[in-house]
Amino acid sequence: MSDFQTALELRDAIAAQHCSSTQAVQQMLNRIEQVDPTVGAYLSIFADRAIQDAKRIDQKIAAGQPVGPLAGVPVAVKDNLCTTFGTTTCGSKMLEHFVAPYNAHVIERLQAADAIIIGKTNLDEFAMGSSTENSALRKTVNPWDSSRVAGGSSGGSAAAVAAGLCAASLGSDTGGSIRQPASFCGVTGLKPTYGRVSRYGLITYGSSLDQIGPLTRDTADAALLMNIIAGHDSRDSTSASESIAVKPDYLADLKQPINGLRIAVVPTLNAGAEASVQNAIEEALKVYQSLGAERIEITMPHFDYAIAAYYVIATAEASSNLARFDGVHYGYRSPNAGNYIEVYSKSRDEGFGPEVKRRIMLGTFALSSGYYDAYYVKALKVRNLIRQDFVKAFEKADCLMLPVSPTTAFKIGEKTDDPLQMYLADIYTIAVNLAGLPGLSVPCGFDAKNLPIGLQIITNAFTEDKLLRIGQMYQSVTDWHKRNLPL
């Protein structure tokens, strides 16, 4: 297939009745049937439901009735977003058969926008990982090279967009889980400001870090999806109200370039990436400079401590958030449990995969008496220092640009034996979550193996509109995001 349509293009085509939603959905389902056995992006597909929904939208359009901003467009959502239809598995044996009694806020918003949810995508179990290899239910590969990982934890969502198995998708990002797979799969991924998108119905990994965001073909699609999913929700205490940050129209001024854009770069940081990545970032910066942007070199003195702080904070929160999976009220219960204590300990041992258990153990340790101050409280202080680094950076510049990942997509199995090495690869993405900022990944080149490279752009809290405009400036003069798969 050549020239995948963007969600915006498809929406307009459906609205203009150049094609029907039913056709678009059917084509997509056919393609999924053809390609997904290899890619492994989906954990569940709602073929009948999607066709029914598409027919309903087509009828509405034919009748001239008003429709939502994503009317008839097939989208995919990460399988850690609760839906009353199908299962919500989190890629875990623990929730393999779990049917949520409610829809996540973003699912309601997609439905209200008349989007067609065609399926739910694979992920690292409970969103813990950077390769989607930790899914207990399916293997996802990188559509650019099936011997390589799609990235993670939103690997399924990224691969689905890259392989043209949906027009756009939603993922979640706790330490880079949208941006890194977007970078590995050559798509656009946005992690919004903490509080911008309601977490209600997102199965929690790290409560103070998690954000839902779009994975799309380009920044315009990301803006379109943000228009739908962003905004206050009274069911999430950490959802930003209008008094904190007004929700703008992300699409409205998207094509307006930013005059006198000041870009901060951290040379010492970039030096940590492999050469092909460094070069691609340098080339991207030159593109911006050619558009009139100014490059400012800065330091981020505490960036280096981000991974350490993150793996304390995220795992501490996770150890508590995942305590509820106990085989009592829902989820997997071990058939080997003799007494009620074993219902807990055996169900959890058998229901969780090794990475989840590792993080629960680490987080439990960090919160336990005698270690709380040295690890948990200390990490929160470091978090503050990291945020202050960003505050200082944004006094000098409009945005910060750096790689998404030090490498392109790595080989499947390459890092599974050494969890620490896997964690260390999150160096560029994690600080953004700790500081609660928005971060965008846009394709900015390919390495010698024809694997996509991502440029990461970070701006101040609640300035996703500006962030998307900066991304759009780049995509309006480059075509990396339009490159098609060698299929």
């Binding site: 009694p101 904190i244 350490a308 793996y311 074993e342 219902v343 090794p354 590792r358 202080k381 503050n384």
Partner: protein
């Protein structure tokens, strides 16, 4: 501080988090968690006496809800995912101790 995550610490964390780990898991976690904690130790090289812990990036407080009913699930919905039920209750093997802590 330098904490080797020895077997005892692993067993304690496993007990607290209700994970019945196998022998090989305990051994593996001892090694892996030691390496991770050793790496994490680097945060303790920073001076943070005058730094406030930042638990949350959002500068908000007093998110409060009016005391108004919002409806509940039916008993069938509430128990739909339960591994075992009896007469509208969640069913578990007999609880012999009293570890209620509220």
């Amino acid at each position: 501080m330098n904490h080797q995550i020895d077997r005892q610490l692993v067993e304690r964390a496993a007990l607290l988090s209700r994970l019945e780990l196998s022998e090989s898991e305990i051994a593996q976690f001892s090694t892996q968690l030691s390496a991770i904690v050793e790496y994490i130790e680097k945060i303790n090289t920073l001076h943070t006496e005058h730094v406030e812990p930042l638990a949350h990036c959002l500068p908000v407080h007093n998110v409060l809800r009016a005391d108004e009913p919002r409806g509940s699930l039916s008993n069938a919905e509430a128990l739909a995912n339960a591994p075992d039920t009896i007469d509208g209750y969640f069913k578990v093997p007999k609880i012999l101790d009293d570890n209620s802590g509220a």
